[in-house]
């Protein structure tokens, strides 16, 4: 990196915040592993419906998944733009990432509402419990990410975010890509392998 961000000397040569974030992501893996394992352990154990095949809308969720994947692409472009000091495109890509995140959240709201109308609430059966807590926890992570991205975008509009903050954007990206990867696993385990 030519515009090296202001980093202190560290023993491992890795930025402190970035290392902390990798540790955080490691910890988050265990969180989602516990949730996904519980989903799998209780799969097919519901004693009353609605059951997953009756209610999961794979085409709709495929679009949401594609949307979230594209947001990861926007994130990569945002980081590249900030690193090369192109704040005009930096702002555009940051906002696009957040917007696609919001679209995903909107999709989740629609999906949850539809499920409730079809009689699946969090307390209906084991599928409802495990599904809503797993996807809801993921959705909360996306919401935090959107808030974070919008904060960076506002800072960029104010002119307070530049190449010197590339590490901040990179860490935001780490989080965003992680949340995206978790969704790929959830989409596969919950929706595709029924």
């Amino acid at each position: 990196m030519t515009h090296a961000a202001v980093t202190h000397h560290t023993s491992m040569g890795l930025d402190n915040r970035k290392m902390a974030f990798w540790a955080f992501i490691g910890s988050e893996c265990l969180l989602f592993t516990s949730l996904i394992s519980t989903y799998l352990v209780y799969k097919g154990k519901s004693v009353v419906g609605p059951y997953p095949p009756e209610i999961l809308n794979i085409p709709f969720t495929s679009v949401s998944t594609f949307d979230l994947l594209m947001s990861s692409l926007m994130m990569v472009l945002a980081l590249a733009a900030v690193q090369r000091g192109d704040m005009k495109w930096g702002k555009i890509w940051l906002f696009s990432t957040a917007l696609l995140g919001l679209v995903f959240l909107g999709g989740q709201v629609l999906e949850f509402t539809e499920f409730v109308h079809k009689g699946l609430t969090i307390s209906t059966n084991l599928f409802g419990c495990t599904f809503f807590v797993l996807t809801g926890t993921h959705g909360a992570h996306v919401a935090v990410g959107v808030l974070w991205l919008l904060t960076l975008w506002v800072r960029a509009l104010q002119g307070k975010l530049g190449p010197a903050n590339a590490m901040t954007v990179e860490i935001t990206g780490l989080y965003w890509h992680f949340v995206d990867v978790v969704w790929i696993v959830i989409f596969t385990v919950v929706y595709l392998i029924q």
Binding site: M19, A20, G26, S34, T38, K45, L126
Partner: protein
């Protein structure tokens, strides 16, 4: 330490030494509360048909005794040393994230207060009694903890308290991993790290992987109780065994979170007072890492009585026996360190040697649980209580007291009395054996755990009385310790930089250290930098005054403000008041934003 005075300088402090002291005094206070709970339990059980407390209060006492000792006394006492000592041992000026460190402390304090508030707030919940403390055991087995069987706020205090404390531990975990890996002084390679620092690193990795699991388990429980989900309810096809798996997936690594720091302390104390390098340093380090990894593969030995089947039982029996090997290896390393050493019998050494002996007894009874047929006889009896008190009291508490006597001069600038210290040690050593050894027999004779009384026909009255006498001896020993603390504060001799002839960096600077710790960051060339060995000269200690001014970050209010959001959210769950959860979240987010955007140069 920072020179600023006044309450606000403590509320806003980001100095790792001050935060270490805050952890120490808070944990000591909770240790005394947990100890008083234990005395109530022992008085109740001193004779058959005891009637000091009701069965209901007894359930609260043993639940809060366990929860307090584990989460509010022993873990934070270890944290006190992580905070105070780790930056000094690796040659750093502070931890990697000083404000996150302050946040961890405040969340711990508030979580501890939240849990203990349950002793006094019964009338607010129209409970008909003063105390509505958690009463489901420290393991909180579902489905006893479900709304149907525990309708009061007791279990909510417990699950909210533990979720809050988990956030504190996780934040500290990330902080110390980065601190130890990234803030080492030049030349301080990983295989030159002091063993206490190494064991802390392993502990932090266990924390950041184990705590998410119990968080999920607690969230399921909270949803079951609040929103009518069925995670642990058989009526909807679920199973309470899920709780047991998730809890012990966390719970077994948790016992290594409790013991590894004490093992680290002992690995510092023994070499110093034997005037010998630790015998087999790499083996001690690798054994610690191995314990951390294998700790993840033994959890179902807590569940042999569930009936998971012969294959699962055999596999977990084998792993549980295997994990005794790296632990046993360390025992030999410590004995080998003392062997042929130039031994000075300080109080710290007494506690460290006591640790090795008592932990060995606890380890041996532990291996006996690894065999499922034997375990089926022992499970839910006092034999198990004997085992884990030898490990957690004989092990962790003695080990941490070794650390207290060893590092007290560094942390306070004053020496403790050695003669009072010896009184403390012998009273505690005799007391703990009198309290906990008879429990092996009480258990094998058939007395179950967690019963509030027993019939005289069981024939364990005499043994129980002996155990109670032992518990009071321990209480007296703690009073002697408090007397020693008071004496040290009033009349203690000022501590020099290095009262013990220690080999590690913390002894090269004043006691207590200045705010910046090291006037000049040292360059390390060996594992024992301050000792002259065959291959190395001793290092030169940093000069008394820094050659150039050293900038240290000022304090911040925002970690405290952010931390205050969490108990507000907890209150929302306790009182079923929706708007409070938004208020709490708003405080948390406000605190985090101010924290993120305030000028704070590390």
């Amino acid at each position: 330490m920072s020179d600023a005075r006044g309450l606000s300088s403590w509320l806003t402090t980001t100095d790792h030494k001050r935060i270490g002291l805050l952890y120490f005094w808070t944990a000591l206070a909770f240790f005394l509360i947990g100890g008083i709970e234990a005395l109530f339990i022992r008085v109740q059980l001193a004779q058959p048909n005891g009637h000091l407390v009701s069965a209901e209060t007894f359930n609260q006492l043993f639940t809060m005794h366990g929860t307090t000792m584990i989460f509010l006394a022993l873990m934070p006492l270890s944290s006190a040393f992580f905070n105070y000592i780790i930056p000094l041992q690796i040659g750093a000026r502070d931890v990697a994230f000083p404000r996150l460190n302050a946040f961890s402390y405040w969340v711990f304090l508030l979580g501890g207060l939240l849990l203990n508030a349950s002793w006094l707030v019964g009338p607010l919940f129209h409970a008909g009694m003063l105390n509505v403390a958690p009463d489901g055991g420290w393991f909180g087995y579902a489905n006893l903890t479900e709304r149907q069987f525990s309708p009061g706020p007791n279990i909510d205090f417990w699950q909210l308290g533990l979720q809050t404390l988990g956030i504190s531990s996780l934040a500290a975990g990330f902080n110390f991993i980065v601190t130890i890996l990234n803030l080492r002084a030049p030349g301080m390679t990983m295989m030159r790290l002091p063993v206490f620092t190494w064991m802390t690193l392993v502990t932090q990795f266990i924390i950041i992987t184990a705590f998410p699991v119990i968080t999920v388990a607690l969230v399921f429980l909270m949803f079951d109780r609040l929103f009518g989900t069925h995670f642990y309810l058989t009526s909807a096809g679920g199973t309470p065994i899920l709780w047991q798996h998730l809890f012990w997936l966390f719970g077994h690594p948790e016992v290594y979170i409790l013991i590894l720091p004490a093992m680290g302390v002992v690995s510092e104390v023994l070499p110093t007072f034997a005037r010998k390098p630790l015998f087999g340093y790499p083996v001690v380090v690798y054994s610690g890492i191995l314990i951390g990894l294998m700790g993840w593969g033994v959890w179902s030995h807590h569940m042999f009585s569930v009936g998971l089947g012969p294959i699962a039982d055999s596999a977990f029996a084998a792993t549980s026996m295997l994990i005794a090997i790296p632990t046993g290896v360390k025992i030999f390393n410590w004995v080998g360190t003392l062997w042929g050493g130039d031994i000075r019998g300080t109080t710290a050494l007494h506690f460290a040697v006591g640790f090795v002996a008592m932990f060995t007894i606890g380890g041996l009874s532990g291996v006996s649980h690894a065999s499922p047929p034997a375990d089926l006889q022992q499970t839910d009896t006092y034999y198990v209580v004997a085992h884990f008190h030898y490990v957690l009291f004989g092990g962790t508490v003695l080990g941490l007291f070794a650390g207290i006597y060893y590092w007290w001069p560094k942390m306070t600038g004053r020496l403790l009395s050695e003669s009072l210290g010896k009184w403390h040690f012998w009273l505690q050593f005799v007391g703990m054996n009198l309290a906990f050894f008879p429990m092996h027999f009480i258990g094998l004779l058939g007395m179950p755990r967690r019963v509030y009384t027993y019939a005289p026909e069981l024939g364990v009255g005499g043994l129980n009385l002996a155990s109670t006498v032992g518990a009071f001896l321990i209480a007296v020993s703690i009073l002697v310790f408090l007397l020693n603390v008071w004496h040290s504060a009033r009349h203690g001799r000022a501590a020099p930089n290095d009262p013990w002839g220690g080999a590690t960096l913390e002894w090269s600077i004043p006691s207590p250290p200045p705010a910046y710790n090291f006037s000049v960051i040292p360059t390390v060339t060996s594992r024992l930098p301050r000792w002259k060995t065959e291959h190395h000269e001793a290092m030169r200690d940093p000069p008394a005054t820094p050659p150039a001014p050293i900038h240290m970050p000022g304090g911040s209010w925002w970690p405290l403000v952010a931390a205050c959001g969490l108990p507000v959210m907890a209150l929302s769950v306790l009182t079923h008041t929706l708007w409070l959860v938004f208020a709490g979240a708003a405080i948390l987010i406000f605190g985090i934003y101010r924290w993120a955007f305030e000028p704070f140069e590390v």
